[in-house]
């Protein structure tokens, strides 16, 4: 590690907070093991992406302003275990609040110090080897917003490459959407479900026993589909694999 970063702010995302706390704990473990102090502003809630994507921009703006306020007291880099929420804060906050006299500049400042978790490790800290040891045949699903919004093409794979003891499996169509799309999965559930089936077919064909990725939202979608199929394939956020020793 060659930076002088000592402290990070963790924005854990609403899904990790309420549904998948283990992912958040894994992220904290990894960051602390790297010698960083992790700040967790307790007032944080949701970045507002569900409202934004559904077109409820006034609601999204309110949530964005709130989140900016929550993150404002510190100027440490903000780390988010989600490409999708990362994309929201890094790109969409800036656009949403561009005409807000009080928040436009703050939105840009927050955007500039926000990173998705694997991006932060690889691009900012320059770390790829976390001395992890895990087991299993692992395939990686590239979530769309991380991949295309933030350019997370290589970082997660670089990190996984360094994990001892696992057998990487190729996921056919790894960069194809899983069909989640937030409220889309509810509003247009037939289409979403059909897209999901293709993803699940590919997952089952990959020979992996564990699927990983950077976003618990897509992973939750995939896991729910696998369960419905009666599959025993595990689904884990990348941080949980990287934490294993």
């Amino acid at each position: 590690m060659t930076t002088d970063i000592k402290t990070v702010q963790l924005f854990v995302t609403c899904l990790v907070d309420k549904f998948f706390p283990e992912t958040g704990l894994a992220v904290v473990d990894i960051l602390e093991e790297l010698g960083l102090t992790v700040e967790f502003p307790l007032a944080q809630t949701c970045c507002g992406q569900p409202a934004f994507n559904a077109g409820f921009w006034d609601d999204a703006r309110a949530m964005a302003r709130y989140t900016i306020d929550v993150l404002a007291p510190s100027d440490a880099p903000i780390v988010i275990p989600s490409g999708s929420c990362g994309d929201m804060i890094i790109h969409h906050y800036v656009d949403l609040l561009a005409d807000d006299p009080d928040y436009a500049a703050q939105a840009r400042a927050v955007s500039a110090r926000t990173y998705e978790f694997t991006q932060f490790l690889v691009d900012v800290l320059g770390v790829t080897d976390l001395h992890s040891t895990a087991t299993g045949c692992i395939a990686y699903h590239a979530s769309c917003h991380g991949l295309r919004g933030l350019g997370l093409k290589t970082q997660p794979r670089q990190l996984l490459d360094q994990v001892a003891g696992i057998e990487p499996k190729d996921l056919p169509g790894s960069e194809e959407c899983c069909g989640f799309g937030g409220l889309f999965a509810v509003k247009m559930s037939q289409i979403s479900g059909a897209i999901l089936q293709r993803k699940l077919d590919n997952i089952e064909a990959s020979g992996a026993d564990t699927i990983t990725g950077t976003d618990v939202s897509c992973l939750m979608h995939i896991a729910g589909g696998l369960r419905r199929r009666g599959s025993t394939i595990n689904v884990k956020h990348i941080a949980e694999i990287l934490r294993e020793r």
Partner: protein, 475 residues
């Protein structure tokens, strides 16, 4: 444009259960996306060309008035005539008048998306003219009285048996004619060749128009674009007002990426560049063939509405179809479900842009916002940005279901008040743990049942991350 009373959801349902369509979509979209990928990978300058193409399109649209004027002058200098149509009705009127005043009976058409916007065929047929589509796929669609289902491959939804049956019914095809695809193609060639020989007027679209020279560029693989613009003595080109590039060199850039993005071909078989009608000197033709009259109809039909909006970027589109093939939603539902001339991601922006959001508000919702369209678009159009914009307009226009507005409003209230938020989620966690089986829920209530129709839903954790943080770190 007429909106059918079959809903979007019904069409989707039908498409998802159409086995044959599903197979056809699988094969075609996979082949097109792989073809595109390989073709662009084999072109080392591909990325630079895409950037350049985007700049050309952006610059052209930003100065569309100037380039259209330059184009029109150039067409007139070569002996062609230019017509300006603000609406579909005006465009139809112009074409019908041209045809009637020249005693046109038989019309051949090469593929033109704009003409689908106009419903030109119906107009001309109402005047007693015979109108024949000549692109093989479009011809099959016309025989079947259906709409094309893909920009590039109009009848990918049909099997060869479908086509054989159609040819038997409509063309009295014999068993021999239907032996295999080449025989069927040969039959269509014979039938359509007659149409070309008898045609009084050829109607074409326009892939690109070149402002500096007044040229129209048509790309086809079959050669029907060339025949349509060569055998009849009258050629009418329909051109959406945004189809321009400033120079021939710019056209060269576009052609380097168009076919590669569309079908994965390095080039289409025929790149046909037409500059004026057949040349004359002292009133006598000096070229052996070609049409004696060339008319270019420049069509607005809602485009200026798009231009003056946040959707203007969609006018950079070069109609390659790559975004359809790459779209996970299109891959599942195909073109007909959109019920519009323009389908897939590009259609979900263009259609509400041209015809208003109200009747088409489902289209921008039919996206996961995965960004695959933007990634493959040769001119890098940010389609997701515009889908989001349309969704926000739908909210302003009150086009969303009440439950959504209500629950997002409630959610917002909670999100900005952490105590409410955490209390609410603790309550939800408790309930969800109760109804869950081993941490997963099989049936969610109300509108959320959409989720559990297709997958399980996780129960909320017993203790959230923030609770654990607080407890473990004594904060």
């Amino acid at each position: 444009m007429a909106v059918s009373n079959v809903t979007f959801y019904e069409r989707v349902e039908e498409a998802l259960h159409d086995r044959q369509l599903q197979t056809a979509l699988d094969i075609s979209t996979t082949r097109f996306t792989t073809g595109r990928k390989n073709a662009l990978a084999a072109l080392p300058e591909a990325e630079a060309l895409r950037d350049h193409a985007r700049r050309i399109r952006a610059h052209t649209i930003a100065h569309l008035d100037r380039y259209l004027a330059q184009f029109a002058d150039a067409v007139e200098q070569t002996g062609g005539q230019v017509h300006w149509a603000e609406t579909a009705a005006e465009a139809n009127h112009i074409v019908a008048n041209l045809a009637l005043s020249r005693n046109v009976k038989n019309v051949v058409k090469s593929k033109s998306m704009v003409s689908e916007e106009l419903h030109l065929n119906q107009t001309l047929e109402a005047h007693g003219m015979r109108v024949v589509e000549t692109d093989l796929g479009e011809y099959i669609a016309q025989l079947a009285e259906e709409k094309p289902s893909h920009i590039i491959a109009p009848v990918i939804h049909k099997t060869r048996e479908d086509v054989a049956n159609l040819f038997r019914r409509k063309l009295q095809a014999t068993d021999e004619d239907l032996t295999d695809v080449p025989h069927m193609t040969a039959l269509a060639r014979r039938v359509l060749r007659n149409e070309f020989l008898q045609a009084d007027m050829g109607v074409s679209g326009c892939n690109f128009a070149v402002a500096e020279t007044g040229s129209i560029c048509l790309v086809t693989n079959e050669g029907n674009g060339r025949l349509t613009t060569t055998t009849p003595r009258l050629h009418v080109a329909l051109m959406g007002m945004e189809r321009l590039v400033p120079t021939m060199e710019d056209l060269g850039v576009m052609l380097q990426i168009l076919a590669r993005s569309a079908t994965g071909q390095k080039t289409s078989v025929y790149t046909n560049i037409i500059t004026g009608p057949r040349r004359t000197a002292a009133g006598q033709p000096v070229e052996p063939d070609g049409p004696d009259e060339l008319h270019v109809v420049i069509i607005d039909n809602g485009r200026s509405q798009i231009l003056g909006s946040e959707l203007a970027e969609i006018l950079y589109c070069i109609r390659c179809g790559a975004c359809l093939n790459a779209c996970p939603v299109y891959q599942q539902i195909g073109g007909h479900a959109y019920n519009s001339v323009y389908q897939g991601p590009v259609g979900s922006v263009v259609t509400p842009g041209l015809y208003g959001l109200d009747p088409w508000h489902e289209l921008p919702q039919a996206s996961t916002l995965c960004g695959a369209c933007r990634e493959v678009c040769p001119v890098r159009i940010n389609i997701p940005r515009m889908l989001l914009k349309l969704r926000s307009e739908a909210v302003e226009a009150g086009l969303n279901p009440g439950w959504l507005k209500w629950s997002l409003g409630l959610y917002r209230q909670a999100v900005v008040r952490p105590s409410k938020y955490h209390f609410g989620s603790q309550l939800t966690s408790w309930i969800s743990q109760k109804v869950a089986d081993n941490g997963w829920i099989k049936n969610l209530p109300g509108p959320l049942s959409g989720w559990t129709d297709h997958r399980d839903f996780p129960a909320l954790a017993k203790k959230s991350f923030s609770q654990r943080w607080r407890e473990e770190r004594n904060q």
